[in-house]
Symmetry: C2
Subunit: 344 residues, 2 copies
């Protein structure tokens, strides 16, 4: 338990700036008494914020960086001009082995580009992916890729399956997670070449997961499988469609309650239940995206998050660093190669 | 006002069989006093069902067909062996000009295959698409393709935009519908070649629609645009993800209400509001898929629907037949060709 671990933080990312990052740290130091934190960002602003938090003094160090990546900046531009940004420096600490994990609430594309450039991709993995934790009828599932890769071939989808399953074992505590490929039908003949090819490989590979075949969009919320694998285009659309739908249903419900007297009375009594629902659906509690497949652990917190959300993303980052997830991914991916070679 | 129109019905499609079809007809004849119906299916079963509905006697004719397409049958097999099925015959009546519109609650893939084979695709349109009507924060939007085409190039997406806009003008009553291309971001640099290429064409074409650029998954439920255009893989996943999410949120809400006494009391009072919400989200009220781009009007009712849902799909089919939507699509598609030719 509690070995010393260091988290490198881009303190300037996200819509709300360093205030919420420092407030999140105040929560996190209590939960992780042996963890240290490096804050990258504007030294003056960070020093002022830390001055009010005595408990953070001996656990947090500040590294000044003069610039920051804008939320709407093109990743290629950020990569070219961004060596003095807090985001670049946060990843650099990871590359230099000063920290075991990096976290940012900033521009997702820029964070992925900088992380790939500095850390590189894990041996045997073709491309990194962004995984999201999804609330389901049965608990939580992992869905990936939700935005890193617009095009994916069969081998990449297989990589995502390996990485998602390793994540589910390490973080969700499942020994033999079930894995499904997102498709437009569950029959074997359905879908495009990439999903069919990935299904073929996964059916024959000996892996610490249960390959469950094709799943459809409604299987995500139903929690039919623990890990849902798809390309970054489809995954991103599915994630945002689900977020929009959840908000819409809650709006419809409020409207329906306001429209009748009984509904209004019910709404008064049911306020607590509605709040519980809002918490369950709140992106702050299953916050952010997990970058998998890099030679280092990088977590992207939601850009519009608050201190509670950033603290939750910090928890995830620390859990991942402690779980040895990278070693698992490398071993599992190598296992597929061996199984495929043995089969052919 | 009521000109005489004939609807050709596959009475054997869907999970529930001809009982719900005849019950739906009993509703529909009241709403459409000048419409006639041809029922394709098992003569004995249909005669027995009609015997109980005196009002249908002079409006409905039965055509016997000995076979039916199974819900899980491969479309290619259904097409090969299916000339004696109720589904084939329902489309055949349309082809023979005995009816202006065909409807089935059966196997979607088989229905599309048979419709394409018998009716053919509209001149100038590369592939037909399936459109869905989607409840949104601002009313209803049209989303297409939700499952007919796994792969789509730029030209096909443009065709879908034309067809979706024509549908929105004809059925939703919008003079100048706004049209968005579903993508992983709203910036011009985002996405794959097909959406970028379609955006390029739509920006320069003179069409009776307002091209609104790229939209994201959450824009569907927000109703940001009237018509959302995407490939059939992404659209199908988005549709099913939204359905699954809506069901999940309602389940969470019931659970949250049951867990507290106040919530349970609120639930009693709010029961009516919850029921109103369920109706709003009910697939029966915005039921089924609309096949666009065929040389004839074909509507697919939801396979698991009841009489109310099938009647709602019948309404849609009759509205489409009366709207002259096919003429509009042909004229609009030709307009793009002229505009592109003039520009080059």
């Amino acid at each position: 338990m509690a070995r010393e671990l260091t988290v490198s933080i881009d303190a300037m990312g996200g819509d709300s700036g360093p205030g919420i990052v420092v407030a999140a740290l105040a929560r996190s130091v209590l939960r992780h008494p042996a963890t240290r934190f490096i804050l990258h960002g504007d030294e003056t602003a960070l020093t002022a914020l830390l001055a009010k938090r005595a408990k953070l003094a001996d656990r947090v160090s500040i590294r000044h960086s003069a610039e920051q990546v804008r939320m709407d900046e093109k990743p290629s531009l950020a990569l070219r001009r961004g060596r003095n940004t807090s985001m670049w420096r946060a990843i650099e600490s990871l590359k230099n082995k000063e920290a075991e994990v990096a976290i940012s609430a900033g521009n997702t594309g820029a964070l992925m580009a900088m992380a790939m450039f500095q850390l590189g991709v894990l041996e045997g993995i073709s491309r990194p992916a962004i995984a999201a934790i999804w609330p389901t009828r049965r608990g939580q599932s992992v869905v990936l890729d939700v935005g890193a890769n617009i095009h994916c071939d069969a081998e990449q989808l297989v990589d995502f399956a390996v990485m998602g399953a390793a994540f589910a074992r390490a973080i969700l505590g499942l020994e033999q997670p079930s894995v499904g490929l997102l498709n437009v039908g569950s029959e074997e003949v359905k879908g495009h070449d990439a999903v069919k090819g990935a299904a073929h490989i996964l059916r024959s590979a000996a892996l610490p997961m249960e390959y469950a075949g094709f799943v459809e969009g409604d299987d995500i919320a139903d929690g039919t499988v623990d890990v849902v694998v798809t390309d970054g285009f489809t995954g991103n659309v599915a994630l945002k469609t689900a977020e929009g739908t959840a908000r819409l249903v809650v709006t419809f419900l409020r409207g329906a309650m306001r429209r009748s007297l009984l509904g209004r009375i019910g709404g008064l009594f049911a306020g607590g239940a509605l709040n519980a629902l809002r918490r369950k659906l709140d992106p702050r509690t299953s916050n952010g995206g997990i970058f998998l497949g890099l030679n280092g652990i990088v977590v992207k917190s939601h850009g519009g998050t608050d201190a509670m959300g950033f603290a939750s993303a910090l928890d995830m980052a620390i859990d991942m660093a402690e779980s040895g997830i990278i070693t698992r991914i490398i071993a599992d991916r190598a296992g597929i190669g061996l199984a495929t070679a043995a089969a052919s």
